[in-house]
Symmetry: D3
Subunit: 256 residues, 6 copies
């Protein structure tokens, strides 16, 4: 079975740089797949992407060596299993708040007897190889998002869930959960402290820490903290930022 390069990077103590796909297009996904990311995550939660389009995006990512992942919209076995069948090598699941949810999530990502994933890896076998059934349980990643007040109270329970590979901090929801406006790349204060605390608990349990950031600078800062999966913005945000900047330059030059 094709290896999961994220696992390899992490085992080597390295950090992975993840891109985020919210534009529902296999072509923009392929453009992103040539930009140097270690992995790309199709965002079916806040991205404007649903399953049928997500599959074409996973195919586009598969034209390269980049690890394809999916963020699902909710803790729902249907979309988690469909995403895995479509060849996602990792699932990022939002709003995991307690041990039961964490266990359910992991269970949806693993075949029996470990879990409850239903068998039928239609596209996953094309991507992963004919021996996908034997190795899938040890290859695909189960990554739980930590972003609610309830989760902050259950960190030990969540992190100690057998089979949980990594956690992923969603700073906007975490800010809201802690009583602040939704912000990313928070420089200090309670949300920043929470990000540190989450990582410490994760590491203590051998769980990899991941986090969403907006700028390369903050991403690097997070890797220095010990986060080994850092996402920078999203295709949406990169496009919007670059377009606005270039237009502003011309408009300014034109004096309009």
């Amino acid at each position: 079975m094709r290896e999961n390069r994220l696992r390899t990077l992490w085992q080597d103590g390295k950090s992975a740089v993840n891109g985020w796909l919210g534009i529902p297009s296999a072509f923009s996904a392929e453009i992103m797949a040539h930009a140097g990311w270690d992995s790309l995550t199709v965002d079916m939660q806040h991205g404007i992407v649903d399953y049928q389009t997500a599959v074409t995006m996973l195919q586009a990512v598969s034209t390269t060596d980049i690890v394809p992942m999916a963020r699902v919209p909710w803790l729902d076995p249907a979309i988690i299993m469909k995403s895995l069948d479509a060849g996602a090598y990792g699932i990022i699941c939002p709003m995991i708040s307690n041990r039961r949810q964490a266990e359910e999530f992991v269970s949806y990502c693993r075949y029996a007897p470990v879990g409850t994933r239903s068998f039928g890896p239609a596209r996953a076998m094309l991507y992963g190889g004919a021996d996908y059934p034997e190795h899938a349980n040890d290859t695909v990643l189960a990554i739980a998002m930590i972003e609610t007040a309830e989760a902050m109270e259950n960190l030990e329970d969540i992190m100690s869930t057998p089979g949980l590979d990594a956690i992923y901090v969603g700073p906007s929801d975490l800010s809201l959960a802690l009583g602040h406006p939704p912000r990313q790349d928070v420089p200090d204060g309670p949300v920043y402290e929470a990000q540190k605390h989450i990582l410490e608990v994760a590491k203590r349990h051998g769980v990899v820490g991941g986090i969403h950031t907006v700028t390369p600078e903050y991403a690097l800062r997070m890797t220095r903290l010990g986060y080994q999966l850092v996402t920078i913005a999203s295709d949406t945000r990169l496009l919007a930022a670059k377009a606005a900047a270039d237009v502003a330059t011309v408009k300014e030059g034109l004096g309009t």
Copy 2:
């Protein structure tokens, strides 16, 4: 009928900044529509976009005041008329090389008795208004691309075509036509001189000059030459550039 703001800008002697849409997605089109451009052109030639998708992109642009345009893949009445029916307020047509082609092109953009456009502005009336039929001939723009060796020999003939509103230089093809590798933002030399010459002939005939550029700096330089329609790169290129830059920053910081 809703005005064509490009005409207004040009009549006021101003330059318009045009964005370019090659990603086949109405969502990326809507993102671009919020970045400050004066107009956006759906590229059905070299963009990965066909008519059915192009319509959804024109709709996305229509959620704002940005002028929607289309570049068609070839001098073909079917796609030119379909694009106008779909609400494009301007058509950029590639590889116009002589007077006959220029006349045919203009004719496809105008109803009888001026031209040969077939009547049926299904979406154009929703976008433009109920009086679209009366004013369409004076509102939609016919913009011919100048980019072949043959066109360089027929500039006077082309520019003097009645009803031709603007020309648009495609620097890559123009470079190839002049015996050079395909380049954009050419700083000087024969291709640059050609760009200047084309504009001079255009202006002499009261035709607006347009050109494709890659950077804001070059776009500004072109406006100083007198080009009044400047495109900067494309959604594809903006996304690719920004993603590659941000990834490189992190990778460099990580020492990988």
Copy 3:
């Protein structure tokens, strides 16, 4: 943030006329958006519409001032939050039968600390404006459908749910729930009485009453009862009715 005109109409004591979109097409949605409705609801429950298509329809509605809403297929946080992120200004949720469901529903429509909506308004910020995060909780509408036997027993509990903006009667399901064949525009009898009763309870709690009707006449009758959100038929039904009527006229004239 762009206002929600339904709220304004209701605050002025006026009724809103809502259109219903079940044809999976952004073009038919745009046609409907030019027919004079106050709001348009993309029906993802009984309409032939799923999320990815729904987004293009919301974009089409956004080319006008019509308020865009969505009916979701079920009380499911994933699709409710995705619809809001896509720019829906109101969510109609089917089969709300008790207080717990009503509270969950409202919670999915509001950011913390009021509710549990996850943050990421990708398209909603383009449509609503940059200050969407601050005002969304007070702008988007949570509208619960009352259409089950269980709901009829829990009207007080449901209507008193904090944050519930409106209720919406589904007459067909309500008829079934009360032991009758599925009918709409019921002139009198127990279903009609139930429609009156539901409205009375709603008004007592300051909740706006909405209802699905088939004809303009019945819609008007409902507004006279006090319903402030009336839907007439659907694109599907309007098209089918008009086509059948026109064909019948010709066939009759032809004597076939």
Copy 4:
């Protein structure tokens, strides 16, 4: 091979009532297929429909006995042949202006030795039957639109083209061609006279007359003239008209 019921109706001296599909959706097409039309034409010229969507619409029509046809955007062998391969039982081709164009058009609809249609009826054999190759030339209809000034001068030449089954008048373009604003359902005057004249020439050559109308009344009037293929409006127009009328009734009743 499945019969072409339009041929049968015409041979029996009857008129066929044709519906028009401009909404790019297989579901609206299926709704229309249940409204009683004799045939339905997918409009790839002024409808918002391209080939890939058109195929799904032809499939939807094929769930019933309604004869499926296509209007192509232009006299172009690619789209004519692709539409036939997709199972269209008739092709309406716009802007046929002279004998050469009429001959080319017919030729694209017929296999050698009669014509130049390329062989590969992928979906047509599923719809028509295994013996499609033998009978297609005698079954599918070639219908030329008469709507230009040039065509009015070449009526005899066009109508006498071997293999031309019917002509179809486009009143809007015909009006423009004769120097009038684009109108349909013209009650009298030169455009009306032209409609009569075209039909007379057609009948003299054994060619069936078809025409686009807006209302059932005018359609009937045309059948009384002798037109045997009458289209009433389009899905787009029927939906827009019915929606606007119903909304207006309610708005009037509400006093707004």
Copy 5:
């Protein structure tokens, strides 16, 4: 209402041969609809198919007399009801493990007072007929998959669920559930015995037995056991097998 031919076949004591659709295309669905199957099931669980595409596939199947069914991804009222509204004449639901789940499943397939299906058969009425509302409860099939360890312990409870029409064995998941690698067409041993046992319990309760197989030979063997609904492979698998075989023959002949 159009009859459900599967019910007729079963009442006559006959077995039905079911095809499986996992390729997201209405054209491949139509090809399959001409291959002689008694029914075709659109697989929204392990097939690469989501609702919006599934509808177009159900339409394609409806161009013939083949009974259209859907396998849903999970026990979720939203997708079950949407599939029925789209015209599916049977729902195959995965991983039914106990009586409560079986009852919920049946309930989602039936209108009140029998069940809780919400009313709005938009496409189902086009396919089934105007009297669909009266007869749907007795026509559409509720088919529960038996494939988990928990289900094996609750067979009596599940099979005796009122309204359950049939069960369907998923051999791969059943194998996993029994501690074996995921296999299909198992010749003997505990999985084979389980397949026999499930059928015996089903028959005792008047429930039809269905099973997924890979080859015609095994399908026949299962019908001899008493299974009355046998699926052979899937479009995906048939295509992959035939393509690989033909390529291998040529490659072998070429000596490469």
Copy 6:
């Protein structure tokens, strides 16, 4: 630039086995890409495939090493250039009948100064590499179909066209052209002789011979004649054949 393995095979005197894609789906394309073909051709002529879908299929093929090609619907620069921009490494163009057409075709496939291809390889550079512009002219294949009576009279003229890489025989159209019913895998007689003659002329001019076949046996026979590009059937045909065969086996076993 990524090599074109077909060129390599041919230079080594070997034959390539080509698959044919007529199902409009990136998933069926990916299935085919794992069946062992040397190249896969997306058929936009008789396949049910248009450009926008074709791109997703080319992406699917690009997840493997299989050479991606496209058959265009007609000798039309728009679709030929768009297909190349989308990453096709070869273009098969139907109905090339004389030298002028052959020259035009080759010209559309090559950048100036050799040809007239317009520059903008949006996806081709992602697939082929950053040096695509320099090497594209020598890498992508121009393959002309020989299948008309006129072509049979102009074989020398066509085959000697500079830059023509290969020819491709369409036996059905060739049969029609020679006055026979459309057949493939013709065992002998005039069509068979024509296939031999075409190859002889091709080889004399250093042009590779290609041909469409239905069975592996006939494909092998053609390679023994000297054809170096043999296509077997199509995804459509393979699926239809295998499904019909398996169903027939079961039905026969069931005695129905």
